[in-house]
């Protein structure tokens, strides 16, 4: 895909929880096929930012433009998903009592996800091929028929990423994918996200600075609900304002 311009543009987004502004006139934009990392101290509004984009919560004010001219504000989560925004949650949210294959099969993008088409539907060979391809991408081919609840933590995270990819999103929102992963798993996840960035725009929230250095091209720093700095990892780490915010957290963003 060779799109020009922005896939996502948040203008003056405010998310007000009874006086506490989780997002405070936040302006944030992402380009097509960009891998963007969002960092920031706890409570900076990172997860809230993903929530308002994907429709999990509705912002108090502001506009969120997706693609050329689609305003996501006010749309419900299912519709935003169908428009091409995929969301990976922080805690693995998968279907533990279904097999890995079934997890992916349910997530696959289809013309209709209504009750009756789903009741009658059988997977076509093309759809099965896509699922097999997804299994290869996330490295779970050998576990296709394993009950998803029996996977390791890291494998569950990959499975959920795979489920989101099969929805064929043009924008992928990934919330702390490597929390609780081993070093090797973290590195593999980084490679996975970088490979996916060739086809999708991706926004990743992350705390682990080693991981951020591995994958980041441009980093956005969020604090108290607004973007305070944007740039390469080196630029961001050199920024005085950022240092101030992370003061006392020197071991996180040293």
């Amino acid at each position: 895909m060779t799109h020009e311009g922005l896939i996502l543009k948040c203008d003056n987004v405010v998310m007000d929880y009874d006086g506490f502004k989780a997002l405070n006139h936040c302006n944030f934009s992402v380009q097509y096929n960009e891998l963007r990392v969002v960092i920031g101290p706890n409570g900076a509004g990172k997860t809230t930012l993903l929530d308002v984009i994907c429709g999990k919560t509705h912002p108090t004010s502001g506009t969120i433009t997706f693609g050329h001219n689609i305003n996501l504000v006010g749309k419900n989560a299912e519709d935003i998903t169908k428009l091409g925004v995929g969301r990976k949650f922080q805690a693995p949210s998968i279907y533990g009592n279904l097999s890995v294959w079934q997890n992916l099969d349910l997530s696959l993008k289809r013309a209709s996800k209504g009750v009756f088409p789903t009741l009658m539907g059988r997977s076509t060979p093309a759809e099965r091929a896509r699922i097999d391809e997804g299994l290869t991408t996330i490295g779970l081919t050998a576990h296709a028929h394993t009950r998803a609840g029996a996977l390791s933590h890291g494998q569950k995270q990959w499975l959920e990423i795979g489920m989101v990819i099969l929805q064929d999103p043009s924008l992928l929102l990934v919330d702390e994918p490597v929390a609780g992963m081993s070093d090797k798993e973290t590195e593999q996840t980084g490679q996975l996200l970088q490979a996916l960035a060739k086809k999708h725009a991706i926004v990743v929230i992350e705390h682990d600075m080693d991981f951020v250095r591995q994958i980041a091209r441009i980093v956005t720093v969020l604090a108290e609900g607004t973007v305070i700095c944007e740039g390469t990892v080196e630029q961001v780490q050199a920024d005085n304002h950022v240092r101030e915010i992370y003061l006392g957290r020197a071991n996180v963003a040293h």
Partner: protein, 385 residues
């Protein structure tokens, strides 16, 4: 080979389902008909009729298993839908009594002694058999649809939904108890004589009703199995496991819940419709809070989320009741409560779970890979490895 990832019902289990169906369709009626009445093999008309009642309850339990066992939505109001089905058929049967009634009036007896001079308008459709039949299926489904839209759409979940359905059961009980509802009040509808020209007291009619019930149960089981094995059935399990993920995969969970709630209500209506002519009476006592809770116990004892467990549980608990209430009438409520507590805490998969363990397979084995495909696959290292 089945499509990968479809839950394939274990062939041994399927075989035992066919065997059980054969037992109920062929063996029991034969034991009723062929051996002499004093033979030890003889199954009395009373016992056959009793099994017919249990199998009605099994249909009711199947519906609850679908919504609770698979979709994780606990309904404590299935008795209401059972009652609606039963009352619809009961109204047809009441109007068939005609001049055979105690007072010799064309109106049902209870209307005569409560001074109702004319048949209330809502009774008119039930003059015809088809009115009774369709009403028994459609009225519960319609009520479930309205109730379901109002609650599922407002994202009422879990224990709140359970409480709401219990309130529905209580409200229905109150309404059906009132004489002003024109449904016989506390005494309900009873003293039925005939349906479609068949005398209900004739053992042959009762045998026919029994067979009809077995066939309806088989059809209901196959319907549920088809739903569960479809991709929509997997969506139901997915909703139970992670409703949020389902939403963010482009499905609308509340519509799926509504669908399965309405199907369960239809099955409950079918169950009530078959129950009435076999038992001969329907009263508000059979549709309130307690009967609704009992259905939950049947499914829990049999094994939720297994379909066949609902059937096993309904038959086993009710058979146990018929035996034990003769010997220890006071102890039955404690036995029933004890069964529930022991079942839920020690045997979460119920009788079917125990059977599966004894015969050496776990639910996980349902979805395990075929042995020849499992170990040889090269990639185990994760993405990008």
């Amino acid at each position: 080979m089945p499509e990968p990832g479809r839950p394939t019902f274990n062939s041994r289990e399927t075989l035992s389902v066919y065997l059980a169906a054969g037992l109920f369709v062929i063996v029991l009626p034969l034991l009723n008909l062929v051996p002499a009445e004093d033979s030890w093999l003889h199954l009395s008309d009373f016992r056959l009729n009793q099994f017919g009642k249990f199998l009605c309850f099994a249909i009711l339990a199947l519906g609850l298993d679908l919504i609770w066992g698979y979709c994780g939505v606990l309904s404590l109001g299935q008795g209401v839908f059972f009652g609606l089905g039963a009352y619809c058929m009961g109204m047809y049967l009441s109007l068939q009594i005609g001049s055979e009634s105690v007072y010799g009036s064309e109106l049902p007896d209870f209307m005569v002694w409560t001074q109702v001079k004319e048949l209330p308008l809502f009774w008119y459709p039930f003059k015809s058999f088809w009115g009774g039949l369709l009403g028994a299926l459609l009225v519960p489904m319609l009520v479930a649809a309205v109730f379901g839209v109002l609650s599922f759409r407002s994202r009422i979940k879990g224990v709140y939904f359970a409480i709401l359905t219990q309130a529905l059961a209580f409200a229905a009980w109150l309404v059906f108890n009132r004489n002003e509802t024109r449904l016989g009040g506390t005494n309900g509808l009873t003293d039925f004589k005939q349906a479609l020209g068949f005398r209900l007291t004739d053992p042959a009619t009762q045998r026919g009703l029994y067979l009809l019930t077995v066939l309806a149960l088989c059809a209901a089981y196959l319907l549920c199995r088809w739903i569960v094995a479809s991709r929509a059935g997997q969506v139901l399990i997915a909703i139970r496991d992670s409703e949020q993920r389902v939403t963010f995969s482009g499905y609308t969970p509340w519509v799926y819940k509504l669908f399965v709630f309405v199907v369960a209500a239809g099955l409950a209506g079918l169950s009530g419709m078959l129950y009435v002519p076999q038992v001969g009476i329907i009263t508000p006592a059979q549709i309130g809070v307690l009967p609704s809770l009992e259905v939950v116990i049947w499914v829990a004892v049999g094994g939720r989320g297994t379909l066949i467990g609902a059937v096993v549980g309904a038959v086993a608990v009710n058979y146990g009741r018929s035996v034990l209430t003769n010997s220890f009438p006071e102890a039955w409520p404690f036995i029933l409560g004890g069964l529930f507590v022991v079942g839920v805490t020690l045997f979460p998969d119920g009788l079917v779970g125990i059977l599966r363990k004894v015969f050496g397979r776990t639910p996980a084995a349902d979805q395990a890979s075929p042995p020849e495909a499992a170990p040889a696959a090269p990639r185990t290292g994760g993405p990008g490895a």
